[in-house]
């Protein structure tokens, strides 16, 4: 490994740049299956024709599973938004267009979003009653097969110098209902403290995809519960306020 520099350090992985390549090195605690699944997801999504970094290699470096992929040179959309607050609307517009382009793709090999959400709901420590209501709600939602990113937020979009946008980080990709993916993005804006951005995003997404806002909102208790499964104590109270709602009777 000839890593120039560390790009990012997360809970149990470290991302290095190595020339034109990016190495995502997972630590020992990380499940091999999850690493391979992430690489497979990304490889599958490559086939849809979306602009994403290409997988170059999956290997083991010093005992650590590593995904090697193409390095995309550019700035993340999150950084661009920060640097040019006056152009935020323009970036949001691009952001939503990109997400809709992704939703227009199908990728039959990906896992099902519904299964993933159901699994996450069961992983939470919510009371059985609340989990039952969430499962019922999930059960009733329409099941689609659109490519969903699962962590679609401005920091996962890189714009190259010539303006080409790339979508990064396919660890959470699934196929399913686009509105669930949008609800998750909305939640990520909130969690990032950008409530104004969240609302603008939702308006834009609904307008461009011709979706009722209520329909996206129906997913919010579910995506909040799946976020809760990550066990971030700081988010707990906020997420519970989103979760603790009832279906009309």
């Amino acid at each position: 490994m000839n890593a120039d520099r560390i790009i990012a350090v997360r809970n149990n992985k470290t991302v290095y740049r190595d020339g034109e390549r990016v190495l995502k090195v997972f630590d020992e605690t990380y499940s091999k299956a999850d690493v391979l699944n992430e690489a497979l997801n990304q490889a599958r999504v490559e086939e849809t024709g979306l602009n994403i970094p290409r997988i170059l290699e999956v290997t083991v470096i010093d005992g650590n599973w590593t995904i090697v992929s193409q390095y995309i040179k550019g700035k993340t959309l999150a950084r661009l938004m920060e640097e040019n607050p006056d152009r935020k609307d323009e970036y949001l517009n691009l952001f939503v267009d990109l997400q809709l382009e992704m939703h227009s793709k199908v990728c039959p090999g990906l896992n099902k979003l519904k299964d993933k959400l159901s699994h996450k709901i069961n992983e939470t420590d919510l009371p059985a009653t609340v989990r039952y209501d969430l499962q019922t709600r999930l059960e009733a939602m329409p099941k689609h097969n659109k490519v969903c990113h699962g962590d679609f937020n401005p920091s996962n979009i890189v714009i190259t110098e010539d303006g080409t946008p790339y979508i990064l980080d396919w660890a959470h990709a699934t196929q399913g209902n686009a509105s669930a993916d949008a609800a998750r993005t909305y939640l990520l804006f909130w969690l990032n403290g950008d409530i104004d951005g969240a609302n603008k995003y939702l308006e834009l997404f609904c307008a461009k995809s011709n979706t009722e806002k209520e329909y996206v909102q129906k997913w919010m208790p579910i995506v909040a519960a799946s976020q809760l499964a990550k066990g971030n104590a700081k988010e707990r109270e906020f997420l519970c306020s989103w979760i603790n709602v009832v279906d009309y009777e």
Binding site: T129, T136, E139, N244, V245
Partner: protein, 905 residues
């Protein structure tokens, strides 16, 4: 009575075992009598009723929602009202029977019901569903909501124990003890029917389980208060309803829409009765508290008003009944415009009643489609508003001056609305049921229907005058009995100009009956001719129409009669084909209100004087309209041989053979009856005997002429009631395509049709209940017998009949093929397919004993054209095909019997 063997249902395995056990119990239960069931139903209702208070307490304690005293009412209602409504309703065995029509309806249970019970009414819904299941001999497995499982199961157990003590099979009611989505889904998949009450999520899951589901939807009830309403009654009804069980009834009012003229009065009344009007900033606080991301905050459901206010940071007195937010928007983005499941109410001001209706419609669209809407007004003066409200609102219950919580569940504020805790919302709410769910939705109704024969009748003109010289007597009756004053005669120019109408007009003159004559009828009468005649009729205003001549004059007169009495009718409608004249779409206009119809035939053939038929041609389009309806039946027919004597030979032959085919087709028709059979046979005997004489010596042989005149009318009565067959279908088109006289066209086709019909194994037989099996062969043999034609078996008799007919045709100068009538072969072949399709579609085809395929009609036309070969069926299996089977002899005998035309047992 504890069932000691019962293990807790908390896993897929345990649930599968329970389903199997319950199914077995239900199998036993399905054999119970109505008396046994009624006893069980009563015992179960009584037990549930007695437990109403402890169950209500348990429900509030466990769910932390609602009001004990109101839940007591719900439990009480579920036990008592449901029992009272259904106690005498039959739900087992024969429900109804009509022996005359041979129809019987039998009730059978559905099987195992998966009952999904909501948290809002956890005990009363359990009582309701188990009771109606017991009444219908069904088993129930309950999937309680985890938040209310203890009380729901307790309610189910009380009903179960009482039912078993009263004789129900052990374990007829069961439940999931530890509910989770996997078990609920499994239960819904395995049950025979799902009775789903609860949130839309659960209802959708039920509908997608693949099993029939009776699901019900959410409500968003608007209550409109019109300016004519009794404001005090309206406001207090709404308060009464909205506070019931802290607003958790799905039918509960969610918004009030008040006519501006009574807005202040309504507001004052709400305020005076303990409701709190939120101030602007408070509205916003409550909005954000009760809804999160467009969903209802679980913490406020079924809570008292002050608690909800407290959560929102608004201070109101503890005794506050309802929090009212005065809002303007009915848009989905307005939180107050949704269902709130709590004592929180939106209030709108309407400019007028139409504005109120519009708002109500929009609110219903916000998640309340199909449920309930309420209106308050003065019913004595404002029925029109009720009608408009009812027609505009897409809700399955429209309540008038009625608190909606207690009103929609039925039998409390109106005693014809079925009591139910499961309210169907119809297709608008995505449900399969739009009514209040009851026992009828849990039954399979078997209908047992016995074969019955079609009702038939026999219709003929009220008077048929017969015998030579009867005309003057008949005309006397017009004058002296009926007092007729103005007669309109319809005839053709030949008869008119040659003085044949003179005996009639002279007699009318003597009687002092005014008359006029229309004599422009041509063969194949046209619409324009009929219009001209009807025009003259309108000018003359006759009270009697006398049709005089052959089929053309009589048909033309019938059409003029229709146009005279009903100028508004459309011929396309009247000519619409029917399968059964008594079930036709078109209702023929009532005839005879202006004029009495008299028919006097001058040839012995058509029978139109006694038939309900008439054919008219639209000369512009060339379309022939065959009209048929008993309204077209003449009132009087006069068969006076004096008018027949001068008919020429050709006409005598053609008309005579026409009458012959009328009788033949009527005899084998699907609709032949004992009444028409006698007439047909009598006519045939007379035609065979007298047609040659009438043909040879028509000008002098009065006896033969009279017999032929009578025979034609008798045959007419037969086919007026039994109708005709495919010979006439084909003859109609052959005549129309090539201008062959109608009688000749029939003569050319009849042999083919007899051979075609006589098949014992036709490709398709005609459809009519009294026509049990193909038996036209026997019918033709019966005719041969009546004519004494001899023959050892039915096949021989058939051949003898065909020979006799062919001999008669030849005897009266009729040629034996279409070709011999000079019809060009090339043209015939070119137009054949068109003619085939038209013949197939002819009105006469429907009563033919053999339902013809178009290919078969085509073959018959071709055979008749060349006159060289005759119709034979496609090859069928015969005794050679079964050689070698054990039963060979027996089966061979069957084939043999068929071949010789032996009469069936």
């Amino acid at each position: 009575m504890e069932n000691k063997e019962r293990k807790i249902v908390d896993s897929v395995d345990a649930l599968k075992k329970v389903i199997a056990r319950v199914r077995e119990a239900q199998r036993k239960f399905s054999t119970y009598s109505q008396e046994q069931v009624d006893e069980i139903f009563k015992a179960a209702a009584t037990a549930a009723n007695q437990a109403r208070i402890p169950l209500a307490k348990m429900a509030v304690e466990e769910t932390g929602m609602g009001v004990v005293e109101d839940k007591v009412i719900k439990n009480h209602y579920a036990a008592e009202y449901v029992y009272n409504t259904y106690k005498n309703v039959r739900t087992c065995g024969v429900l109804e029977e009509d022996k005359a029509y041979g129809i019987k309806k039998i009730a059978e249970p559905v099987g195992v019901i998966a009952a999904v019970i909501p948290t809002t009414n956890p005990t009363s819904t359990a009582i309701f569903k188990t009771l109606i299941a017991l009444k219908t001999r069904n088993a129930v497995i309950i999937s309680p909501h985890p938040r209310a499982k203890k009380c729901t199961i307790a309610a189910a157990k009380i009903v179960l124990d009482a039912a078993v003590a009263a004789g129900a099979p052990e374990g007829i009611i069961d439940w999931i003890d530890v509910p989770n989505i996997e078990l609920t889904n499994l239960l819904m998949k395995e049950a025979d029917i799902i009775l789903a009450t609860g949130g839309p999520g659960m209802v959708k899951a039920a509908y997608s389980s693949g099993k029939p589901a009776i699901g019900v939807g959410p409500g968003n009830t608007p209550a409109v208060i019109d300016e004519s309403a009794d404001v005090v009654l309206a406001v207090n009804s709404i308060i009464h309803s909205k506070t019931f069980d802290n607003g958790m009834i799905c039918a509960s009012e969610q918004s009030v829409i008040v006519h501006k003229n009574v807005y202040d009065a309504v507001k004052a009344e709400f305020a005076a009765r303990g409701c709190y009007f939120l101030k602007e900033d408070e509205i916003e606080k409550v909005r954000k508290t009760i809804f999160v991301n467009g969903a209802l905050n679980a913490q406020i459901v079924g809570q008292p008003a002050y608690k909800i206010a407290e959560l929102a940071g608004v201070k109101v007195p503890v005794g506050t009944k309802i929090l009212i937010g005065e809002v303007d928007s009915t848009d989905p983005s307005e939180e107050f415009a949704h269902e709130k499941l709590s004592p929180v109410l939106a209030m709108y001001k309407a400019e007028d009643i139409h504005d109120a209706f519009e708002k109500a419609e929009r609110l219903v669209a916000n998640g309340g489609y199909g449920h309930t809407a309420a209106i308050y007004l003065d019913v004595t003066t404002e029925q029109a508003k009720i009608d408009e409200f009812a027609s505009r609102l897409k809700t399955c219950r429209i309540l008038v001056n009625t608190p909606s919580s207690q009103g929609a569940i039925g039998d409390i504020y109106n005693f014809k609305l079925a009591p139910s805790l499961t309210l169907g919302c119809g297709s608008w709410g995505g449900n399969s049921v739009s009514e209040n769910v009851g026992v009828k939705h849990l039954l399979n109704i078997k209908t047992v229907v016995e074969r019955r024969e079609n009702m038939l009748w026999f219709r003929a003109p009220e008077k048929i005058y017969i015998k030579k010289g009867c005309l003057p007597v008949a005309l006397n009756e017009l004058k002296y009995v009926m007092g007729k004053k103005r007669a309109f005669i319809v005839t053709d120019s030949f008869l008119y100009h040659n003085g044949y109408t003179k005996p009639i007009t002279d007699r009318l003159d003597e009687l002092g009956i005014e008359h006029t004559t229309f004599f422009d009828v041509l063969p194949d009468p046209t619409l324009s001719c009929a219009k001209a005649g009807a025009e003259q009729m309108r000018a003359f205003q006759p009270d009697t129409i006398i049709a005089f001549g052959g089929g053309s004059a009589m048909d033309a007169a019938k059409i003029m009669w229709v146009m005279y009495e009903h100028p508004e009718v459309d011929f396309m409608d009247m000519a619409m084909r029917f399968m059964d004249i008594r079930k036709r779409v078109y209702t023929f206009p009532k005839m005879g209100e202006k004029a009495y119809f008299v028919a006097i035939p001058t040839s012995a053939g058509t029978g139109s004087e006694v038939t309900p038929f008439a054919v008219i041609t639209d000369e512009k389009s060339g379309v022939k309209y065959p009209l048929a309806d008993y309204e077209l039946l003449p009132d009087m027919a006069i068969i006076d041989v004096d008018f027949h004597m001068s008919a020429p030979k050709g006409l005598t032959a053609a008309a005579g053979i026409d009458a012959l085919t009328h009788a033949l087709e009527a005899y084998v028709s699907l609709m032949a009856t004992d009444f028409t059979d006698g007439l047909a046979k009598q006519a045939l005997q007379m035609i065979f005997k007298y047609l040659p004489r009438a043909y040879d010596n028509g000008q002098t042989d009065v006896e033969a002429r009279e017999k032929m005149a009578n025979a034609a009318t008798i045959a007419g009565m037969a086919f007026a009631n039994a109708f005709l067959g495919v010979c006439h279908s084909m003859a109609h088109k052959l005549g129309a395509f090539y201008h062959l006289p109608h009688g000749i066209a029939n003569a050319l086709m009849i042999e083919e049709v007899i051979r075609f019909n006589a098949s014992e194994a036709p490709a398709k037989m005609g459809t009519f209940p009294q026509y049990g099996y193909p038996h036209a062969l026997r019918r033709y043999a019966e005719i041969a017998e009546a004519l004494n034609l001899g023959g050892e078996n039915d096949h021989e008799k058939l051949e003898n009949l065909i020979k006799a007919i062919n001999d008669l045709k030849a005897r009266v100068g009729i040629k034996s093929s279409i070709k011999e009538y000079g019809i060009n072969e090339k043209e015939f072949l070119e137009r054949l397919d068109e003619m085939v399709e038209q013949a197939f579609d002819d009105q006469c085809t429907g009563t033919n004993p053999r339902y013809p395929l178009m290919s078969e009609i085509r073959q018959m036309y071709l055979n008749a054209y060349y006159g060289k070969k005759h119709f034979v069926d496609e090859e069928k299996p015969n005794e050679a095909d079964i050689a070698g089977t054990e039963d060979e002899n027996k089966v061979k005998k069957a084939y043999l019997r068929a071949r010789v035309g032996a009469k069936r047992a």
